[in-house]
């Protein structure tokens, strides 16, 4: 399976479509995803949102800030590209491979649910060797679950987990937020 990228050339930012494609190919192999992936970069905005549509092809719509080097505006970062494309693809794989059938659609997820799922994805990426700052994701998790020891314990559990179902993830997240299901 291969990754395609649009646009092929960038005018607002100094990004390299070929680099995005290579990083995407590497991620598909590591994650064992057997569907073609199309990455569509919106270079007109510095925001960093990433949206995914799953069909015969997995389409990842990325705002340029998601692949940008925060030290050098408008320049591409290998690390940010890997981490943010990796997160999107892991979420897609979760939905495709089962166990996440009852998860709400992306635009219906609450901020708490997004934070829990992101934590689950980034924890797995870290174990695959992708450089990530765990404290960044803990801070995000705390903002959505509370600045408490219970929330921190839930974060550690999710971060260290593999093979969770949506129901299991949601249960730990709700416990972390102090509202057990």
């Amino acid at each position: 399976m291969t990754v395609s990228v649009t646009p092929a050339n960038f005018s607002f930012v100094d990004f390299d479509a070929e680099l995005i494609r290579r990083i995407g190919d590497g991620l598909l192999e590591v994650l064992g995803i057997d569907r073609p992936v199309h990455v569509e970069v919106d270079e007109t905005t510095p925001l960093g949102r990433v949206r995914t549509e799953i069909g015969d092809t997995i389409t990842v719509r990325v705002e340029s800030g998601a692949f940008e080097d925060s030290r050098k505006p408008r320049q591409q970062s290998d690390e940010a590209t890997t981490a943010n494309l990796g997160r999107a693809l892991l979420r897609a794989r979760d939905r495709i491979s089962g166990g996440f059938g009852e998860a709400p659609a992306d635009d219906e997820l609450s901020l708490r649910q997004i934070a829990a799922w992101e934590t689950y994805c980034v924890g797995r990426l870290a174990r695959m060797g992708v450089p990530v700052n765990q404290q960044r994701w803990k801070y995000n998790f705390r903002n959505r679950h509370g600045f408490t020891d219970v929330a921190d314990a839930a974060f550690e559990r999710i971060w260290a987990s593999d093979g969770l179902t949506w129901g299991e993830l949601e249960t730990v997240s709700l416990e972390g937020a102090g509202t057990p299901s």
Binding site: S11, D42, P46, K72, F147
Partner: protein, 282 residues
């Protein structure tokens, strides 16, 4: 020791990447002019924003580098002017005290950044703050740095304090509150010294206030700070009042900030159109 240090010679290690305001403004991308579908309902920094954690981390890093530059500016004012003939000893003593406060703020900002998962130098450092501290007239520095820059700091700390309060982050809320108290003092120092030194020199006062207005507009960061919900940082009217700003002065800053927001949007539209044109031609 060298006097009147240039902005491009500030001491930074390899972790930092400095950019000027011109470079920052030259970015044709802008979240402000996005279509309705793509634009967030509000840009104000609040925990309810989907990107709140990363936006807060970015702003915290901006505060950190701002504190370094404020420390450098206050320290420079102690050294750049002759005591007595160019600046009263008591003014320099106030600047020394401010440098002490800013050094403490740098340390607090580093700790808060670690807490939020940000590395030192993770974001580009805009050097516009120090540029305002390079005037050869100490009164203009007081107007530009203590009243405009520290005034902006009041707005930023108020926004961050509220963010910490709403998110339930005890450290962020507590630390920002402490730093906010210092900033109010720094602005008050600037207001008091500006009045005292220019008491019998209305022309110099006028020039200083004009310089402050120019710096206020620059520090509005192209609309980053204003009363509009399109701006991430609000105008902290109450704390500005406590810091010695008159109602008219606050209204003037509000107007300048809104104009800066509109100018930034117009600039971004033009830059995007030019980028599209260049792309089509190539």
């Amino acid at each position: 020791m060298r006097k009147f240090f240039p902005v491009d010679s500030l001491a930074r290690d390899s972790r930092f990447n400095q950019i000027t305001m011109k470079q920052s403004q030259a970015d044709p991308r802008s979240a402000l002019i996005a279509t309705e579908e793509k634009r967030p309902k509000t840009n104000r920094l609040q925990p309810s924003r989907a990107d709140a954690s990363d936006a807060a981390r970015s702003l915290m890093h901006g505060i950190f580098v701002g504190e370094i530059q404020a420390l450098e500016g206050a320290g420079r004012t102690c050294h750049d002017f002759e005591t007595g003939t160019e600046a009263p000893f008591a003014l320099k003593l106030d600047m020394a005290r401010q440098a002490w406060d800013e050094a403490r703020h740098v340390e607090i900002s580093v700790k808060l950044s670690e807490w939020m998962g940000t590395e030192i130098g993770q974001y580009a450092e805009n050097t516009v703050l120090f540029e305002a501290a390079c005037s050869t007239d100490p009164v203009l520095r007081l107007a530009g740095v203590n009243r405009a820059l520290e005034g902006l700091a009041i707005d930023v700390f108020t926004t961050m304090k509220e963010f910490g309060d709403i998110a339930g982050d005890p450290f962020l809320e507590f630390c920002e509150d402490w730093m906010l108290a210092d900033e109010v003092t720094h602005v008050k120092m600037g207001s008091d010294w500006l009045r005292r030194i220019t008491e019998n020199d209305p022309e110099r006062r006028k020039k200083a206030l004009e310089f402050q207005s120019v710096v206020d507009k620059i520090f509005s960061f192209g609309g980053t700070r204003s009363d509009s919900q399109e701006s991430p940082i609000g105008l902290a009217r109450r704390f500005r009042e406590l810091a010695g700003f008159s109602d008219d002065e606050v209204e003037d800053i509000a107007d300048v900030s809104l104009r800066a927001l509109e100018e930034r949007k117009a600039f971004a539209r033009q830059a995007q159109a030019e980028a599209v044109e260049q792309f089509s031609a190539s």
